[in-house]
Symmetry: C2
């Protein structure tokens, strides 16, 4: 058998479908875009789609499926969204009910599937340009912070922007802006550079989610919109049902990160 | 009174609201983005929003309003979408019923307003860089062609991509790609360069809409996605009611074209 790092996106999806892969997907199928998952009943779909349209930095839509459709078309031609994600979280009325390996029995004809871009894509591009990514160096989860920046509301969906933070040497900040600007479909350019208090963050050592990372002397914290934002916003609305990927357990697509770059 | 070229977007909107401006908006409020209008009853709104998400080049969403809302928030803070467009076309079941100067009496609580980017924005940028825009030189309407490229369907919305054509000297083609790539929210980079037959266009002298323009010896036809696409697609569905701007009679926003540029 191949090393897991050598598996193609399709091979990983097939393993996952057979229940043989339920671990995080970071580091798998390098070069290929991974996606966040949100599934909602149709009655919430227009408002959520509008929320994503109004907040493209935290909610960069890669693909939205027709009501009831569980096969992707753009991100992969042979995927089944009910089985091809390593772990799913099931939420009812905003409360996590279960974490499961497939959702075939739960599937309903009015489910609308949203697949959103993930910062794994631009982190790969940063590393290729010798821009350090601290949480990868330290083998941690990226630190995430709830800010005082409100998202633009849509229907009943509203809430604050959640950001990730990556500390950078001062002479890498401009390059990091340039590189991530190319990836508008995976959160794109930073939302803030420097003083964390300006966006409502009190203590960089105490992230709202994820792990704290080392900030070396002279390094500047740089903040990007985070895919946790739409999940947090959905949970506030307490929908009858919402299904997401479990954190870090993403959908692996056949689309290369470079195909998503805007220029 | 000021020359019309000197009027601000707000001044033009106020004149329009009072019924004192019902002419085309090309050349007005230079530097500011103008927008295409599509208003649909809510039952069509999810599918149309999804169609725009899947086809961002022909359907670049600048702003979508909540059901029933007629005031813009992002594009202007004091606009009324029922009165601030010089001329509206009213379609019932896909057939044009009337062209009117305001739609207050028609307004319903379930109307959803879509405002889409317009190529006026990138034409200004081309001219600033000495890239010629032939239909402006010849004081004509831009030539538009129905292609054999299908849009990605969404719900009941489907149809071919409509493109605009601008002939360019060979040594300006690369620069035109670079410039328009910056304006993803106003149709962005070209969809095709050169041989028109490759995208199903038989005769560049006979556009599907608009006027033919001179193609000088050695010039290369360059094709961009066109905002007529979503209107053509909507008409195929024959919705009970659809309201659009009359061609060339756009919504003038307070957002600068440069604010819409991606980098």
């Amino acid at each position: 058998m191949k090393n897991t790092e050598q598996l193609t996106p399709k091979e990983i999806r097939v393993l996952t479908r057979k229940g043989k892969w339920d671990k995080p997907t970071a580091g798998l199928a390098m070069g290929y875009a991974q996606a966040n998952l949100v599934i909602l009943p149709q009655k919430y779909a227009f408002d959520f789609l509008l929320f994503c349209q109004r907040n493209p930095k935290p909610c960069p839509l890669l693909e939205v499926l027709e009501p009831g459709e569980f096969r992707t078309e753009y991100l992969a031609s042979d995927a089944d969204i009910r089985t091809d994600i390593p772990l799913y979280n099931i939420y009812r009325k905003g409360k996590k009910e279960a974490t499961v390996k497939e959702i075939r029995a739960l599937w309903k004809e009015d489910f609308v599937t949203f697949l959103l871009g993930c910062s794994f894509s631009f982190e790969e591009a940063l590393l290729r340009a010798n821009v350090p990514v601290r949480h990868i160096e330290e083998n941690k989860n990226v630190p995430m912070f709830i800010t005082n920046i409100p998202c633009k509301p849509a229907g009943s969906f509203h809430g604050p922007l959640v950001v990730t933070m990556r500390p950078l040497p001062a002479d890498k900040v401009v390059r990091a802006v340039q590189i991530t600007s190319r990836y508008a479909l995976v959160h794109g350019a930073p939302v803030h550079i420097g003083d964390a208090s300006r966006i409502g963050i009190r203590n960089l050592k105490k992230p709202s989610f994820g792990d704290p990372v080392t900030i070396k002397k002279g390094e500047i914290p740089v903040f990007w919109a985070c895919g946790v934002t739409p999940q947090a916003v959905v949970m506030r609305v307490k929908p009858d049902l919402c299904i997401t990927h479990a954190p870090g357990h993403m959908f692996i697509s056949d689309v290369l990160n470079e195909e998503l770059a805007t220029h």
